[in-house]
């Protein structure tokens, strides 16, 4: 049965599943706000931003896998979704390896 659904592009987690993902997203949003008000700089400067981004990535993964049905999609869709973040990472990394080594930004001595 489930095999057939994948073939017709109809994979989904049903209404309870959708509500569950929705709940995760709401909790994630509230958590993002609460954590932002706590000063985490004692761990290392910028820890707040890292935690915020981790939550955002988790929320995004939930949306992509289940709301956008990537989980039931062909390999080519998986590849496109993952590759876009790979290109994004290249853009960020190559830009910042210039700016961060000029010695004037946030990671300067």
């Amino acid at each position: 049965m489930s095999e057939k659904h994948i073939e017709s592009g109809e994979g989904h987690i049903g209404i309870p599943g959708y509500l569950g993902i929705f709940l995760v997203l709401v909790v994630g949003t509230i958590l993002t706000y609460v954590v932002a008000t706590v000063d985490l700089d004692f761990i290392f400067p910028g820890a707040n931003t890292l935690v915020a981004l981790l939550i955002a990535f988790t929320k995004m993964t939930c949306v992509m896998l289940f709301f956008m049905h990537v989980y039931w999609s062909p390999k080519l869709i998986w590849l496109s979704a993952i590759a876009s973040f790979f290109w994004l990472a290249i853009m960020f990394a190559y830009t910042m390896q210039d700016y961060l080594t000029r010695g004037t930004g946030v990671f300067a001595a």
Binding site: E7, S8, G9, E10, H12, G14, I15, Y18, L19, I21, F22, L25, V26, T29, T32, Y33, A36, T37, V38, D39, L40, D41, P45, N48, T49, A52, L53, I55, A56, K59, M60, V63, M64, F66, F67, M68, H69, S73, P74, L76, I77, S80, A81, A83, S84, F85, W87, L88, M91, F92, T95, M96, Y99, L100, G103, T104, G105, V106, F107, A108
Partner: protein, 301 residues
């Protein structure tokens, strides 16, 4: 092969919605999906360019970004995040009911999705209006023009770290509608911490050059850095809002198609593809909310 006489066309069966260049629904569905995903990948790349700009300037002037961010209203931003998540849920359920061929639920859920999309844009309008009133729009002349009043008590003559945000409008005259920024309390806080404990330096080299003149905090130089934050804020949220407007257009078209009972178990690609777009716009906001609204909250004591 199905044998329904009414769906027979030049001798073989055509499911509703199957275009002639495709062998079957599965091939069409996959082609449509990959096309939509290619579109989304380029959307990720062009929002990515803006995130790169954000990354570069925030790494240079983190305090100016925190100061600007703390003046955005996290309540409205958070509310909008929840509104978009609810709209994503109704969108996902629209696709679910389209696959089931349930016309009434599709129509109801599309209307709900459009409603939440409109609420989002309404909240955005309130926020932009607030920025207009306070002189936070980074374009000269696009802010509310407030005439200088000689009768004012000149609260604005105070040092820049004691600016009273609750002061009446007349205390912050802005006759030309310029970008206004008078609060340097975060810089003062960093300077004080450094004096208290010289080993503790929270300002970057860019900031040490960019916020001071002759060793004193220069509020005009600081203002120009905060202005960069507000440029980024308006461009990113503006472009996101534009995507929402396009999304509402898509939903209107979808509503018409769904109302006419176009979609069924066999043909629901337009709903699914519009859903992908809608969820993508939601994902962009998931990142914009913490990066724009919450980045400096932990500096507020």
């Amino acid at each position: 092969m199905a044998t329904h006489a009414d769906t027979l066309e030049h001798g073989h069966y055509h499911p509703p919605g199957l275009q002639h260049q495709f062998e079957d629904m599965k091939q069409q569905e996959e082609s449509v999906s990959i096309g939509m995903w290619m579109f989304l990948v380029q959307e990720i790349m062009f929002f990515g360019g803006l995130f790169t700009v954000y990354l570069v300037f925030r790494s240079k002037f983190p305090m100016a970004f925190a100061a600007g961010s703390n003046h955005l209203d996290a309540f409205w931003g958070g509310l909008n995040t929840l509104v978009l998540i609810v709209s994503s849920l109704t969108m996902a359920l629209t696709v679910y009911y389209a696959q089931k061929g349930n016309r009434n639920m599709q129509v109801i859920l599309i209307i709900l999705t459009m409603f939440f999309g409109a609420v989002f844009l309404g909240v955005k309008t309130i926020e932009y209006g607030d920025k207009y009133k306070h002189g936070f729009v980074p374009v000269t002349g696009w802010n509310k023009k407030i005439k200088a009043d000689p009768a004012a008590s000149h609260e604005s003559g105070k040092p820049c770290w004691e600016v009273d945000h609750a002061a009446a409008e007349v205390e912050h005259p802005n006759p030309r509608g310029e970008f206004q920024w008078k609060d340097c309390s975060l810089v003062k806080q960093a300077v004080d911490e450094h004096e208290h404990d010289p080993k503790k330096t929270t300002l970057t080299v860019s900031e040490q050059n960019g916020y001071f003149s002759n060793g004193q905090i220069d509020v005009d130089k600081f203002r120009d850095k905060v202005r960069i934050f507000f440029w980024i804020y308006f461009v990113m949220t503006g472009l996101h809002a534009l995507h929402m407007i396009v999304g509402l257009g898509l939903m209107t078209w979808l509503l018409w198609k769904a109302f006419r009972g176009t979609f069924s178990h066999e043909y629901f690609a337009p709903v699914e593809m519009s859903g992908l777009y809608w969820h993508f716009v939601d994902i962009v906001w998931i990142f914009l909310f913490p990066l724009l609204y919450l980045l400096g909250r932990h500096f507020m004591h």
